[in-house]
């Protein structure tokens, strides 16, 4: 299954190829996933793990290079193996850890922490006040960017489109195929909100009710596993609406000149969490790398301009150019309409609940 990070890079590569953005903008924005420097690096090497594509080159030039410049003796290497939770586990358990900082997720961080496979974040180095909310700096990871799962729809089919998940589940008023990610996170929250549950009181999730609700859509459902797929299914008219990543939704919106609309209301705001595998070779220096990713608002805004990833630094939203604000998930105006995903709840329940979800939607 493709992760959000992989998809962002795929998106950037495509825009770069089409000439919509320059190489410089591309790398500037890719560097938005972090960098700064401490002084405890003596001949130390850090390996950052991304999900492939241009991230490797971009992180190397605009992430590794500045860190090396600011931190004499430190070296940052890029690895694009894709740090799936299972891969991190096999690395840590084999006792030969070569990764220092991995682009993971909120639930991944919790799960890895619980299994004793991740290093807790040292909050004397990483600053909690560098992020907008508690969900972005957790025990086993911190997030230099954010993203959201929003409702997108085809306004050609529905001029007066769905406004929330209740409408999304209304097959009479809005007939047609829906898209959901083949992953329980965000999907079950949407299902519960569609039943009128209070968005502020979703957790702990009533999974039985949510799964039953998802089952109602089964006949009208296509499940996506990577972002370009979700975009393509909307674009080609295979589906009339869907819950997809906001980065893909805004691409559809811009490209179609507003035919594909999306709503921030009841969207699920998520943290792009990085984790440090247990026994990482670079040791505490990885904490400094993470700290620098969180503390700089400018590159975070650059990233928003390129890929659409939202900044997480509280100073960033005000720096966003006016025309970009509507696409920023953490713009205060947009953020207050969304629900923040509870990564800790998911970390504790993901294995079982996601299996139940797979059983509900597949067969």
């Amino acid at each position: 299954m493709q992760t959000f990070q992989q998809d962002c890079i795929a998106l950037a590569e495509r825009r770069f190829r089409r000439g919509e953005i320059s190489r410089r903008t591309l790398f500037q924005a890719l560097a938005g996933l972090g960098v700064a420097a401490p002084a405890l690096a003596q001949d130390k090497q850090l390996v950052m793990v991304n999900w492939g594509g241009l991230a490797n080159q971009g992180f190397g030039e605009f992430y590794g290079a500045p860190f090396m410049a600011e931190t004499p003796g430190a070296k940052v290497l890029q690895d694009s193996s894709g740090p799936a939770t299972g891969r991190i586990r096999s690395m840590v358990e084999s006792g030969r850890v070569t990764w220092d900082l991995c682009d993971s997720s909120a639930s991944g961080a919790r799960l890895l922490g619980k299994l004793g496979l991740a290093t807790p974040i040292d909050y004397s180095v990483v600053k909690r006040e560098d992020v907008i909310g508690p969900g972005f700096a957790v025990e086993y990871g911190a997030a230099p960017y954010s993203f959201s799962s929003v409702l997108v729809y085809d306004s050609q089919k529905f001029p007066d489109g769905p406004k929330n998940w209740t409408d999304f589940w209304d097959l009479k008023k809005f007939p047609g195929t829906r898209l959901l990610r083949r992953d329980a996170t965000c999907t079950l929250e949407a299902a519960l909100m569609s039943m009128g549950r209070d968005p502020a009181q979703l957790y702990p999730l009533d999974t039985a009710a949510a799964l039953k609700r998802v089952a109602e859509l089964r006949k009208n459902l296509v499940l996506w596993t990577n972002g370009s797929e979700s975009e393509q299914l909307m674009r080609t008219g295979e589906a009339v609406m869907g819950q997809i990543w906001h980065t893909r939704a805004s691409v559809l919106f811009k490209e179609s000149k507003g035919r594909f609309k999306y709503v921030w209301d009841q969207g699920l705001l998520q943290a792009g969490i990085f984790v440090i595998p247990k026994g990482n070779p670079g040791g505490a220096l990885a904490q400094w790398l993470l700290a620098s990713m969180l503390t700089r608002p400018e590159p975070q805004v650059g990233l928003l301009g390129l890929l659409g990833n939202g900044p997480t630094n509280p100073k960033a939203a005000a720096m966003v150019p006016a025309e970009l604000r509507q696409f920023n998930p953490t713009d205060p105006e947009n953020a207050r309409r969304q629900v923040v995903l509870d990564g800790n709840w998911w970390g504790d329940n993901y294995q079982q609940v996601n299996q139940d979800y797979l059983d509900t939607v597949t067969g």
């Binding site: 299954m1 299972g86 586990r89 296509v222 499940l223 295979e238 299996q355 059983d359 939607v361």
Partner: protein
């Protein structure tokens, strides 16, 4: 006796290499199914008690059986045409069968998506001909998966069947006709039984290969159909339930070995894989 020992000694390096770098790691992974999350047969108990596990096995078997049957029917028809064609035409037919084998499975899956989707070539063609009113659901379901898998497997069915057909002595057929059998009788009582070993070999080959399908169902199934390979990947990489994933992997390996065991009793394996008869 001593000479035998010498031959075994020559084999030993290759044997040790395979054991150390191929068999041992695989066994190590499969052993996880007995040790995790708790030592014992808990993961295997789920084969009997867990509906999710049973369902993924059921889905896999169902899709593989359907694919095998359709591939065999198409493969048999194709092999029949090829076997009876002139040598020149036969070369072209064979090329037509083999070319798809060289195209990436990914490319083929996406090509099928383009053809089969709601606004794809097939649906639009049928709609403009007035044959259907609403687009048919040809993809994002098991239909799509079976179409994609059959397309992939037909060459694997054709080759063993063709091999068997070409070994049939044409004089036998002529003799049957000469003794007064109708064309139908010749086919059903002479040709079909003589080509049956090829059919059995093709069935086994196709079925075993389809068991491990991963990309085609993932792309054409609209996420709604989980077959064993993808399910194992989910357990290992995303859900981090290695014990369960390793259990199903072990079950697959054992199933395939058992199938091959039965198969080798039915069919002469050495001959099928090209060794001297």
């Amino acid at each position: 006796m001593r000479r035998d020992l010498g031959w075994w000694a020559l084999l030993a390096p290759a044997f040790l290499l395979m054991t150390a770098f191929y068999l041992a790691p695989i066994l190590q992974v499969l052993a996880i199914s007995f040790t995790e999350p708790t030592p014992g047969l808990g993961n295997y108990e789920r084969l009997l008690t867990n509906p999710a596990v049973q369902r993924v096995i059921g889905t896999t078997l169902r899709i593989c059986l359907i694919t095998t049957l359709i591939s065999l029917a198409l493969g048999y028809a194709l092999a029949y045409v090829i076997a009876l064609a002139s040598p020149r035409a036969r070369r072209w037919w064979l090329l037509g069968v083999l070319v798809p084998l060289w195209i990436s499975v990914l490319v083929r899956a996406f090509a099928w998506v383009t053809l089969l989707r709601r606004q794809g070539l097939v649906n639009q063609g049928l709609q403009s001909l007035g044959a259907i009113e609403a687009p048919l659901a040809l993809v994002w379901n098991e239909t799509g998966i079976v179409i994609g898998m059959v397309h992939y497997m037909v060459p694997y069915a054709v080759l063993p069947i063709l091999g068997a057909m070409r070994e049939i002595d044409p004089r036998v057929l002529a003799a049957a006709r000469g003794l007064g059998a109708s064309r139908g009788t010749v086919f059903f009582r002479v040709f079909l039984p003589l080509s049956a070993p090829g059919l059995a070999a093709a069935a086994m080959l196709v079925f075993i290969v389809t068991l491990g399908f991963y990309i085609t169902p993932a792309i054409l199934g609209g996420g709604k159909t989980l077959m064993a390979a993808e399910w194992i990947k989910l357990q290992i990489l995303d859900l981090v339930r290695w014990g369960l994933g390793a259990m199903l992997a072990s079950v697959m390996v054992v199933t395939i070995l058992v199938l091959l065991g039965i198969f080798s009793r039915v069919v002469n394996l050495r001959r099928l894989f090209g060794a001297g008869a």
